[in-house]
């Protein structure tokens, strides 16, 4: 229903022009290098241009409009911000103020939600209390970004369809204390290829569809041995899960800045809406960032992984030892024990009905937390599929999964919950407002798996 394929031209020449018109200052990767035959050269999304010369203030206009662009070598008709998919890469430093004006050039309403950013509720881009920005109208969002995040922005009205059509972009809030890598990549991962009548474009149980990075199918970044490579990985797929592995991959950050200490998981799982910062240290050997088949229904991992990114050294030499990140080790907060709110996820793919506490959004009970009193929210998943739980307005700490605390302090805004798992999180309750709490598998959210948490 959504993607209208205009042509089928595989990008065998390896050069893709999508989103490469502008070159980022820090995230400078562009598609100018040669790539192996059959694989395009990697390119970061084009940087947003700051329209305000004042230091500490980043101002831009984001025009949402229908747009024809290439994905994995195919010309598609979708939506885009400022005529590029992914949308302009907004890159600021912690403490900066962002002012973004949405000009809605779509045929119906839209909003911008700043996924991962703690913003005032009226800037959160949800139509719960403030309606959508109507077609042809504008709205200016302005807020301070106080903490480093690997965030993204996307509509929160008609969400499943508009995000599916390509309406999303990246919001990086960086800490100036972080080391500068030789290559800083932004990997916007999306899936394509679902039957149009399915109403979505991503794989559900098995990732049988094509993953793209910034619209490119398995692009390749040329590097020199010994260089440092840092990648902000964002899963913007409506439903697809990334289960990533790569030789020597080190996870240094999550959605909300640096981890207390780096990790080297066998698989880095990123559900829809989830993000991470990873580091590669290429030596002589080529590195392939693989995503493995992943079943949200709990099936065994079957099938072969596919490469979503190649990091290919053009020289020989030793790998570097990794960047010197300012990690601050921190143990998980002990579970205070008292549960303030309990969310139970229920649903069935077969009925297409998705609920939290038996209720379908917007007919929900609003749970209330007093401002300034950190509170435990317990999320239970009774359904037969996994769900990426996302809370607006506040990041939270994962206290435990099925009673087991994480190895280190884990701050997130989107966390995956397994089948029949119980997740306990500590919410600071420090941002007054009505905040959406929902599954970020967008058809599930559209199907009702969304509720409202009030802080007052």
């Amino acid at each position: 229903m959504i993607w209208l394929l205009l042509a089928c031209t595989h990008s065998g020449d390896g050069v893709d022009s999508v989103g490469t018109e502008e070159t980022a200052a820090d995230t400078e990767e562009t598609a100018v290098d040669t790539a192996p035959p059959g694989r395009p050269a990697f390119a970061n999304p084009a940087l947003a241009e700051d329209q305000n010369p004042e230091p500490g203030v980043f101002e831009l206009t984001l025009s949402a409009a229908p747009h024809d662009f290439q994905v994995a070598g195919q010309q598609v008709s979708g939506y885009a911000y400022n005529g590029q998919n992914p949308g302009p890469l907004i890159q600021v430093e912690a403490g900066d103020i962002l002012t973004a004006t949405l000009q809605n050039g779509l045929e119906n309403g839209s909003t911008i939600h700043w996924h991962g950013a703690s913003v005032p509720w009226e800037m959160d881009g949800v139509p719960w209390m403030i309606g959508p920005v109507q077609a042809g109208e504008s709205k200016t969002y302005t807020f301070q970004l106080s903490e480093p995040i690997t965030g993204w922005y996307h509509p929160h009205f008609d969400t499943e369809r508009q995000v599916d059509l390509g309406l999303y972009g990246v919001l990086l809030v960086k800490d100036p204390a972080w080391p500068v890598a030789d290559h800083e990549l932004v990997l916007v991962a999306d899936t394509w290829g679902e039957a149009p009548e399915e109403g979505h474009h991503s794989g559900f149980v098995f990732q049988e569809n094509t993953w793209t990075i910034n619209g490119l199918e398995s692009p390749v970044l040329k590097v020199e041995a010994g260089q440092s490579v840092v990648a902000h990985v964002l899963n913007v797929s409506n439903m697809g899960y990334l289960s990533l592995s790569a030789e020597g991959m080190r996870v240094v950050g999550g959605e909300q800045g640096l981890l207390p200490a780096p990790t080297t998981p066998e698989r880095l799982l990123l559900g829809p809406g989830d993000r991470a910062i990873v580091e590669f240290s290429p030596g002589t050997q080529e590195i392939e960032l693989l995503t493995h088949p992943y079943s949200v229904a709990g099936a065994s991992e079957l099938g072969d992984p596919v490469s979503i990114l190649g990091i290919h050294p053009s020289t020989s030499g030793a790998a570097n030892a990794g960047l010197d990140w300012p990690f601050e080790s921190a143990a998980p907060t002990p579970d205070p024990g008292k549960t303030a709110v309990r969310y139970v996820f229920q649903g069935d793919e077969q009925t297409g009905q998705w609920r939290i506490n038996g209720e379908a959004f917007p007919d929900v009970t609003i749970e209330t937390l007093p401002e300034g009193v950190p509170a435990v929210i317990e999320v239970r998943n009774l359904s037969a599929t996994e769900h990426p739980f996302h809370l607006h307005g506040m990041s939270f700490e994962v206290l435990s999964v099925d009673g087991v605390p994480p190895d280190q302090r884990t701050i997130q805004d989107t966390v995956n919950i397994g089948i029949r798992q119980t997740l306990r999180i500590l919410v600071p309750a420090d941002n007054v407002g009505d905040w959406m709490a929902h599954c970020h598998i967008l058809p599930h959210a559209e199907g009702g798996m969304m509720t409202v948490l009030r802080v007052e």
Partner: protein, 688 residues
């Protein structure tokens, strides 16, 4: 594994009849690939065009209905992995098909024949088989390997052979002769369940057969009234359906309980029926047409899919396999008084006694319009893409005979996850337990709130003797801090002895270390429970909600036992009732609760939730065959909570409080009498 094949091995049918013989077309020397094919399907039923038949491509979904001329048009996906076939389904006929062998034939005729709708009493229910043994295609396990394995360990398979069911049915206890006679039972010849062989058994306590047939001891061979137990517990007894003796079930009728062939012989459901299981709600249809290839009868099987045209199955599609109406057949049961010369108060219970109401609890609850029973209790099996996961003949290409690969999630588990599948953690997900504590003038007041957070039905549900209960304990500076007030657990939570009044010095069963708990009845317990026991029943609420508000007043430990009585570590306060209990330990883990014997918690600080059925002599928590009334039902509705308060004594610092929410399958007294192993299941724990 099969699903992987579906994903990895997408065969594309080739239209060319024979590449070798085909003339080479200079314009298209490559292989021509036909991706889709528009076909017209003409369907007849008993020779006449039929309207409303489902026409679907096998394995693809998306059906078309035939018009008044019996015709439907369909676009076939020729890239489907496996056999391309048109499948036609009609509610009165076995599903038929036409295989599409090339791209040239585009019009097909499918002839359907009405199946004989006379139930065949001579039919013998099929053998489900056992996991990893696939001797013959007559066994379901031959092809349906995963489903068979999952069903094999399920409570449904145990429906008839469950020793608790058999013990309550015949009125037997699991005791040897001497213990039986010591306990007041009779050691008599009876029937061994599942064999009808005569054996000596211990007849002790209530039983369906002795109670309904007014016999002393056992009456396995003489009973004539059977209480319809077998209608759900042994529906696979061959011959006449319904009203059968559970002890008639022999062999597979007994050992396989609710088995594949029985469940998939349900032609229709009748939720308006007042009769349970196969006596009314579930209408079974056994085939009577003569079979072929060694089959006595032509197969007839009802199931969820419209595209199962395999002649091995003789399949007819029915929606009730995907909704709750099938489950309601045995999980919704109202009954009259069954014991002779007893009656149910028709004014109080005009529709009979509610025994099992799980189906209506779900139907009337917040998820009744969103999820089916199957959504939670038969979750998708993600590792199976085909109900017939032919591990033994994997070379077969998916198609008419072996079935097609289905989207992951369509094939559902047949283990019926729930309280009896502990690995599913369904009990732990079902309820929330929250505590609060405040200091009072005399001690510490703890409130405990139990919430039904997950299920679409009340908790507990199902068998009415099930209970869930919260128990609290406190310590002060590391020493036990006795409860001095607040809600107490009722008698059916277990005690060796109880006494209504007196000085409570004589306890014949007492041993040193036992505990005597004293409670006081302060009046009726106010609560909002199920149906007329709720505060706002649409059908009218009972003013008398049955339960008594019994409060803890104190307890003491037995320190010495002699003929003249017991000596306690402290003086017992006065009260209305005292319980003698032994060895109750609060479990701290699910594993621990599963391994330790159910504790005696009568009189302890806590609150229990259950449906209370009463017998004609006024006994509470009786088996439902013996019930004439439901006197209370404070079970917790979906999304609702219930709270209780508990007072502990003085402590300079806030005491350490531990609480556990436990699930118990039957009453402690019944299990004790019958010598059954009774374990509680820890649902939740909380501490302050």
């Amino acid at each position: 594994m099969m699903l992987l094949l579906a994903l990895a091995c997408v065969d594309t049918p080739i239209v060319d009849s024979d590449p070798v013989d085909s003339p080479v077309d200079a314009r298209d020397s490559a292989v021509q690939v036909l991706e889709s094919l528009d076909v017209v399907v003409n369907v007849t039923l008993d020779g006449a065009p039929v309207e409303g038949a489902w026409v679907v491509q096998g394995g693809r979904g998306g059906h078309q209905l035939t018009d008044a001329q019996g015709t439907a048009s369909l676009t076939l996906d020729m890239t489907l992995y496996g056999e391309v076939a048109v499948s036609v389904s009609h509610p009165e006929a076995r599903t038929e098909h036409q295989t599409v062998r090339d791209g040239e034939t585009t019009t097909f005729t499918v002839e359907m024949v009405r199946y004989n709708r006379s139930d065949n009493l001579d039919y013998v229910f099929g053998d489900p088989g056992i996991p990893d043994v696939a001797d013959t295609t007559a066994q379901c396990s031959h092809c349906h390997k995963t489903i068979n394995r999952s069903w094999y360990g399920s409570p449904h398979r145990d429906a008839a052979s469950n020793p608790w069911v058999q013990g309550i049915y015949a009125g037997t206890a699991d005791l040897e002769q001497s213990a039986c006679e010591d306990a007041g039972g009779s050691w008599e010849l009876g029937l061994q369940p599942g064999t009808r062989a005569e054996i000596s058994r211990c007849y002790l306590g209530s039983g369906t057969l002795p109670d309904l047939n007014a016999c002393e001891g056992g009456c396995d061979e003489t009973a004539r009234v059977f209480g319809q137990c077998a209608d759900c517990h042994a529906p696979g007894i061959n011959g006449v359906l319904g009203e059968r003796d559970l002890l008639e079930a022999v062999g597979m009728e007994h050992s396989e309980g609710v088995s594949c062939d029985v469940c998939h012989k349900v032609e229709s459901t009748d939720p308006d029926s007042s009769e349970p299981g196969i006596s009314g709600w579930l209408n079974l249809m056994r085939p009577s047409e003569e079979g072929a290839l060694g089959q006595e009868y032509f197969p007839l099987m009802f199931g969820p899919y419209p595209d199962v045209p395999s002649p091995v199955m003789g399949s007819v599609a029915r929606d009730h396999y995907q909704d709750g109406s099938l489950c309601g057949g045995c999980h919704e049961h109202w009954q009259d008084a069954l014991i002779p010369e007893t009656a149910v108060d028709a004014e109080r219970w005009p529709d009979g006694l509610p025994v099992h109401t799980t189906y209506s609890e779900w139907q009337q609850g917040p998820l009744g319009d969103a999820l089916a029973c199957q959504s939670c209790h038969m979750p998708p099996d993600p590792n199976v893409g085909n109900a017939a996961d032919l591990g033994n003949i994997i070379d077969l290409q998916p198609g008419v005979v072996p079935g097609w690969m289905r989207p992951a999630g369509q094939v559902r588990e047949h283990s019926w996850v729930g309280p009896r599948t502990p690995e599913s953690q369904m009990l732990q997900l079902a309820a929330g337990l929250d505590l609060n504590m405040e200091q009072t003038e005399t001690g510490w007041l703890v409130s405990a709130t139990v919430s039904n957070v997950g299920p679409a039905h009340y908790i507990p549900t199902g068998e009415p003797m099930r209970q869930i209960f919260v128990v609290l304990q406190a310590t002060c500076a590391g020493q036990p801090l006795p409860a001095t007030g607040g809600a107490a657990l009722p008698a059916w939570l277990g005690a060796l002895e109880s006494q209504e009044s007196g000085d409570w010095s004589l306890w014949p069963s007492a041993q040193v270390g036992d505990v005597i708990r004293v409670v006081q009845d302060v009046g009726p317990l106010a609560y909002s429970g199920w149906g007329p026991f709720s505060e706002s029943s649409t059908d009218g609420s009972f003013t008398d909600k049955g339960l008594r508000d019994e409060r803890v007043v104190g307890s003491a430990v037995v320190t010495w036992v002699g003929e003249e009585g017991v000596i306690l570590d402290r003086e017992l306060p006065s009260g209305d009732r005292a319980y003698l209990v032994r060895g109750a330990v609060l479990p701290s883990t699910v594993q621990e609760s599963a391994e330790q014997s159910a504790g005696m918690w009568a009189g302890a600080p806590g609150m229990s939730f259950q449906r209370v059925m009463a017998g004609v002599d006024g006994d509470w928590m009786v088996p439902h065959h013996a019930a004439v009334d439901v006197v209370a039902d404070n079970r917790i509705a979906p999304g609702e909570s219930a709270s209780s308060t508990h007072l502990f004594g003085a402590c300079a610092e806030p005491p350490q409080v531990q609480a556990a929410l436990l699930h118990r399958g039957t009453t402690w007294a019944l299990a004790h009498q019958k010598n059954w192993t009774l374990n509680d299941s820890l649902m939740a724990k909380e501490s302050l």
